[in-house]
Amino acid sequence: MKNWQRSLLIVAGLLFVGTAIAYAQLPEPRAHEFPYMGNRGAVWIVAQLHILFAAFILGAPIFIVVSEILGWKNQDVRYERLAKEVTKVTVILYSMTALTGGLFIFVLLATYPQLTAWLINHFFAVFAVMYPLLFIFETIVLYLYWYTWDALQGHKKLRHIALGVLLNIIGLATLIVIDGPTAFMNTPAKFAEGGMDLKTFIETTATLWDKMNNYSWWPLNIHRTVGNVVFGGFITGLIGAYMYLAAKNDEDRAFYDWFGFVGNLIGVGALLALPFAGYLLAYELCDYDASICPYMMADQLSMFFEMQGAMVGLIFLASNYYIWLSMKRIEGLEQIRMRTTTLVLMASIPVVFMLIWTKFPIPDKFALIIPTCWVTLFLIAGRFLKWTVGAQTLVKVAFLMVIIGNAIWMTPHAFVATQALAPDDGSLSLPHGELSLGFVTISWGDLALMPAKNAAAFTLVFVTVVNYILYNRALRQGRIAWGKIDFVAQFVLVFLAFSAIWTMTLMGAVRELTRKYFHVFNLQYDFTPESFTPTLAYSSWVFTGVTLTFYIVVSFAIILTLRTGKEKAHAEASKAVPAVAGAE
């Protein structure tokens, strides 16, 4: 794609936004009916596509700069090349973000004109001034960053890195600014408890800051920032996989094998924090209005969370499988051993932590103190007890724990779409019995509660950390052959990227649906016939369609930028060689 084409897409996006803001000022704008998919479906698809592109262009620059710094500090050209190639894809996807963003606000205005006008008027400074300005600044800095890459080398490298840092600051500011209205729709700011009612407060005295600084604003900022890094990491893994599949020589295969490994490392590294960032967001939503909690976990959205459990389990299984495949090609792996206490600790976490958190629910202080003591106990014991297990045994137990952790995560009170419909005979519900382990008793019902889910999430995270520690130890003691990874690893990277995107669309829908039959929760009713909760089956078609559309665009962007660029370079090199040879 040429520069003028990219610029045209960005200008088109900005024009869409400008037109939308102007249209919002018209009195009594009329709604249009979107054919086939309905108004909600149209907004859903365009918004989700925009968020996916935006997530990548905001997440990728974070580790692009880190990679550039690593390359500069360690004089490792691989990091520099990784940063440059991911930036190249980011530049292409940036124009798609602008275009889908403009399209999103345009479709929103055409289908829900009164709500959009209401929102634009309440957040006028955000939509008409801050967001477009930040977007223009970001465009300028991104293009500066890209086009000065070769010019700012050597002693000027620090200036280029500074540009990258500035790009990230602007990107983060854009995210934080636009999250304000988004979070407001979920948790509109209330006046002090027992004071003015919500509607009067928002319509009369609330300032822009009051509206921005709502309950879920910062949790959403944190969750999206972490999520964007996960997403960027897995898409980098995808780029690595594509380029590995297309590589024609060992040098490229070695580089793209390493490239995919780094992408996965970033994705998994950030993924470890994601369940807790998600938990914080859910906690704040429930704290704002406790009725949101049962709606998510026990009522209409309960099976969406069941699906989320399945997806998270699959992502953790796949990322650990990738580590396993990576480890398998390290020479001397069989000599790597770890303390048996690590294995026992890993196996104990689901049950022990579940019991602790059932007895002392978070945020009780003992919910932190006792688990810390438990882990410390094993770390100290490991100093004295010298029994060890082989790396392969440890990894296999780790996989077993991922499956057990995921089984706990996915255990519901009942296999029903809503608890209100659970049959009285208990034919679909957890039994009332319990399991006595002698010194302690586990009630089956506890398996479906939050302490058990938290213990399961912690198990998945802990197992992955142990696997990476093991992997690092293997790297230090053995010898890795880059480019020689099992071919199936490339499909694991593709799977991880696809599943991460699918899960993002699933959880994005969940956050939006928690507003129930409101456009703005408890404030603006959704009077359209589409204000009901869609079925998970129907939603899964939308998730898959959006994911595939995004995948097709990203795949083309990768092929266009990296493959074509490489072929061009090869063609130029082959043209140049005979000329030089002839001259000689």
């Binding site: 408890e193 027992g194 009612d197 919500l198 509607k199 599949l245 297309a246 704290d287 209005d289 406790a290 009725s291 049962p294 026990a298 009522d299 209409q300 099976m303 069941e306 299984l317 499988y321 996989f399 077993l400 499956i403 009942a414 296999f415 779409a417 608890q419 209100a420 009285d424 208990g426 034919s427 679909l428 039994p431 019995g433 399991l435 089956w444 019902g445 099992d486 071919f487 199936v488 499909f491 593709v494 799977f495 696809f498 039959y517 408890n522 009713y525 959704d526 009077f527 204000s531 009901f532 909760t533 079925t535 998970l536 089956a537 899964s540 078609w541 998730f543 898959t544 994911t547 595939l548």
Partner: protein, 278 residues
């Protein structure tokens, strides 16, 4: 070929172990712990998932593929994942949107009617209904009295002027209150007659009519922090009951709900005692 044989060996070995694990889990779930069939199936599926994972762990390396074959493999892979995810999501229990649509209509309709647009829509709808009715009456009059009917029509200026009186709310207050209890989804936190929240977020309400006077129940609904049930006084629990019903429900709806809750006087159920806080 040797690699294929080895992989076959892995499948047989791990497959056998997986079947044994599945049978053991199923027996334990069914006869020892008495889990319902749906959970027994879940345990068996986990055993198979574990088996697949362990087969993959021991599988020999896959030979590299490139070019057109790689593209076909990739596309096939995407199709398979997409279908598996859609099938997985569709296999889980689905909430029937029709149930919710009915509930939402009951909640949202009065709110829409209260808006300017709602009022205009309602007036237009009533005008249309009256017009249809008047047309039908005139038709009947024409058949009965012929020209005389036309004279009547002319004298009254084209049709009936007064609208039909609004129908009185059907059903009694208690039944309407029970409907409000369902519409506001109070059952997500409270239990009545053993039905409702499994997490004990809020107290059982079976005997609330004995423990609280109607005006006290109303005060609790409008100002949740004014009364707290014994055993639900922790700082976290205090915020559990949303402080929004005075804004989202009309006075009429609140009165209906209070009327229903006041009838709950089952002394055999240990409903926690409410204590006045503010």
């Amino acid at each position: 070929m040797a690699a294929q044989t080895t992989f076959f060996g892995v499948i047989v070995k791990r497959g056998f172990q997986g079947i044994v694990a599945a049978v053991v889990l199923w027996l334990a779930a069914r006869f020892l712990f008495h889990f319902p069939p749906v959970f027994q199936i879940m345990f068996v599926l986990y055993a198979f998932l574990g088996t697949s994972v362990f087969i993959l762990l021991d599988a020999p390396s896959l030979s590299p593929v490139s070019g057109f074959k790689a593209v076909v493999l990739l596309i096939g892979f995407y199709v398979v994942i997409s279908l598996v995810y859609i099938a997985g999501a569709s296999a889980l229990p689905q909430y029937d949107p029709m149930v919710e649509k009915g509930k939402i209509e009951k909640i949202v309709k009065p709110k829409l009617a209260a808006t300017e647009k709602g009022k205009i829509d309602e007036l237009l709808k009533r005008t249309e209904e009256l017009n249809t009715q008047s047309q039908a009456i005139l038709k009947r009059l024409e058949t009965l009295g012929g020209e005389e009917a036309k004279k009547i029509e002319a004298s009254v200026g084209g049709g009936p002027a007064a609208g039909a009186a609004p129908t009185a709310a059907g059903g009694n207050l208690v039944a309407l209150g029970k409907e409000q209890y369902d519409l506001q989804e109070c059952y997500n936190c409270h239990k009545i007659g053993g039905k409702g929240s499994v997490k004990k977020r809020g107290p059982m309400l079976d005997n609330i009519g004995t423990l609280m006077k109607p005006e006290e129940i109303k005060e609790k609904l409008l100002h949740p922090r004014a009364w707290m049930a014994e055993g639900f006084e922790k700082e976290y629990n205090k915020k559990l009951m949303p402080d929004k019903y005075k804004e989202l429900m009309s006075d009429q709806e609140i009165d209906e709900l209070v009327a229903y809750l006041s009838t709950l006087k089952d002394t055999s159920v240990p409903t926690p005692k409410p204590v006045k806080k503010q």
